[in-house]
């Protein structure tokens, strides 16, 4: 944090910013070489059954409007530059979520000649969501962890209740 943030006004402004960011993070999705499985699960997370939008998350087309970069798949050599470009186009502060086993380590594609590695070898990653592909609940949980991390505390009781409710509905 810079010196100027210490003035009371700056602190209030910063609080407002965090509040706004946590309540409506705009996400952008990029597939850097995944098998598509995680992508359809991310889309499924946005649709009525799981409905990620109740946390204020909106999938946005342009990197210049986005706060969160959701990456899927290992990074192929071809898409590596694109991924970096998208990341650099995003405004600060920006956060990266890596979805799927391949995003974590290369997964089943580990060692193939055109794979540059997992996402964390190209970008700094904030949240890893494992699974091949992760269930929509796991993706929701990962994103909520990110948001709560931004706020700097544990998930609130309402959020916990909501997550439990989703899990219960799923079991039925």
């Amino acid at each position: 944090m810079e010196q100027s943030l210490r003035s009371p006004w700056q602190e209030i402004l910063e609080k407002v910013r965090v509040w706004a960011r946590v309540n409506s993070p705009w996400a952008i999705h990029y597939n850097s070489g995944s098998c598509n499985g995680c992508d359809i699960e991310i889309v499924a997370t946005l649709t009525p059954r799981y409905d990620l939008e109740r946390f204020g998350v909106k999938l946005e087309g342009s990197p210049r409007h986005a706060d969160v970069l959701i990456c899927t798949g290992p990074v192929t050599r071809q898409s590596r530059d694109r991924l970096l470009r998208i990341y650099h186009q995003m405004p600060e502060p920006k956060f990266v979520v890596a979805v799927g086993s391949c995003g974590l380590s290369g997964g089943v594609f580990h060692g193939l000649y055109n794979i540059a590695g997992g996402i964390d070898e190209v970008l700094p990653v904030d949240v890893f969501i494992p699974g091949c592909p992760p269930r929509p609940e796991a993706i929701i949980y990962g994103l909520v962890q990110l948001l709560e991390g931004l706020r700097g505390r544990e998930p609130s009781p309402e959020v916990k209740k909501m997550l439990q409710k989703t899990a219960k509905e799923e079991r039925q």
Binding site: N31, G33, S34, C35, G37, V43, P48, R77, F109, G111
Partner: protein, 393 residues
């Protein structure tokens, strides 16, 4: 009035419309597209080469992850090929279960497509509804196989999941529910005026064009080409439970919607029939420890069209060569031709009309000319690619 200079609209590889990376360039004259080109390869991972360094069993799981949407048919095609090399035939019950999962996967894939295509047309309500109802079949697949995507049902020589009474009832109940919903979608797609305005007569491909460009699957069948591997060369359980071929003569986007939705009904009918006549018996046949040397092909009908595998064995633990030919790549040629003459706003729907799947697409062909034995470093190759495209445009 035509302008002197070309105006090119680049789209991708990151774009809001499709979830996978592909780069398109549309040359436009005002609003009308006069030329279209596609650049693929962002998802090229080198799976075919990697398959040569993995054992047959590892490959089964690797090929399943070529594409997350039609993962089951990839594994089926590979398993069928290896079984043919080994001279083993999977037991009847295993074949029936393969077909059963393949049809359930077709339902999930077509409903996914229905939603995405409606989304491209700006009809988000249909997108949300069809994805909501898609969860019915996703639940059934999960109850059946234990995973929502990448089911890993196939083994070499059989399958690993079985259907019991309660699961059977569950699937039949789910199918009844889905049938009602799909009937509703068919009504929406064929009667909604705003939707018809976006689909009727748009992206028309004649039967001659479909033959010329080598279109496959529902894209070809919507242009009246009677081509379906399940009918032409039945594999798994399709010889016992025949599939009705669904075609449409119109060839436009509406026809593709109608063909795919009617295929959903057909898939539901096939699932019911398989469940009614599920043969008893073993789930796996014994595979030899080593796959004998030889080469073979196998063809299956993926949700997007004909999927072709070539498997060559040298008698070792690993396949010597596996070649995959996926349906999406066959359909790209047609879409780039059909796009010309349409409005730029119609492009997302025309692109989505073939149900493109980029992770299936991106494979590499090496051309070996007589005199040029040239190797390029990655940077050189990239530079070469950039300059090549500059020259072409």
């Amino acid at each position: 009035m035509t302008s002197e200079r070309k105006f090119i609209v680049p789209i991708g590889p990151q774009h809001p419309a499709l979830k996978e990376p592909g780069h398109f360039e549309f040359t436009v004259d005002g609003e009308i597209v006069t030329d279209a080109s596609v650049r693929l390869g962002y998802v090229h991972r080198g799976i075919e080469k990697g398959a040569e360094e993995r054992s047959y069993i590892q490959d089964l799981y690797l090929f399943e992850r070529i594409c997350g949407i039609c993962s089951h048919v990839h594994a089926t095609a590979f398993a069928l090929g290896v079984e043919r090399l080994a001279g083993v035939e999977a037991p009847l019950r295993a074949q029936a279960i393969r077909s059963l999962v393949a049809e359930m996967e077709r339902i999930h894939s077509h409903m996914l497509w229905l939603g995405v295509a409606a989304h491209e047309g700006g009809f988000d309500t249909l997108f949300m509804y069809s994805w909501r109802d898609r969860e019915i079949v996703m639940d059934l697949l999960e109850a059946f196989t234990g995973n929502r995507v990448n089911y890993s049902v196939n083994l070499l020589g059989g399958v690993k999941c079985d259907v019991n009474e309660s699961l059977r009832d569950q699937i039949l109940r789910g199918m009844d529910q889905l049938e009602k919903r799909i009937q509703h979608y068919l009504n929406v797609v064929t009667t909604d005026r705003t939707f018809l305005a976006r689909t009727e007569g748009v992206g028309r491909m004649t039967r001659e064009q479909a033959d010329l460009f080598g279109a496959v699957g529902p894209t070809a069948r919507a242009s009246g080409v009677p081509r379906d591997v399940r009918v032409d060369a039945p594999y798994a359980y399709y010889s016992t439970v025949p599939v009705r071929l669904i075609t449409d003569e119109r060839g436009d986007l509406l026809a593709r919607f109608v063909v795919r939705i009617n295929e959903l009904f057909e898939a539901i009918r096939v699932i019911r029939e398989i469940l009614d006549h599920l043969p008893e018996g073993e789930l796996t046949a014994r595979m030899p420890r080593r796959i004998p040397a030889g080469e073979t092909i196998s063809r299956v009908e993926a949700p997007r069209g004909e999927l072709f595998y070539f498997v060559k064995s040298n008698g070792g633990e690993k396949p010597e060569r596996v070649k995959v030919r996926t349906p999406s790549l066959c359909n790209w040629g047609s879409v780039m031709q059909v796009a010309v003459g349409h409005k730029l706003a119609d492009m997302p729907m025309i692109l989505a009309g073939i149900d493109p799947c980029f992770s299936c697409n991106d494979r590499m062909v090496q051309l070996k000319r007589k005199d040029s034995q040239q190797w390029m470093s990655w940077e050189d190759l990239r530079q070469y690619g950039i300059e090549y495209y500059k020259k072409v445009l």
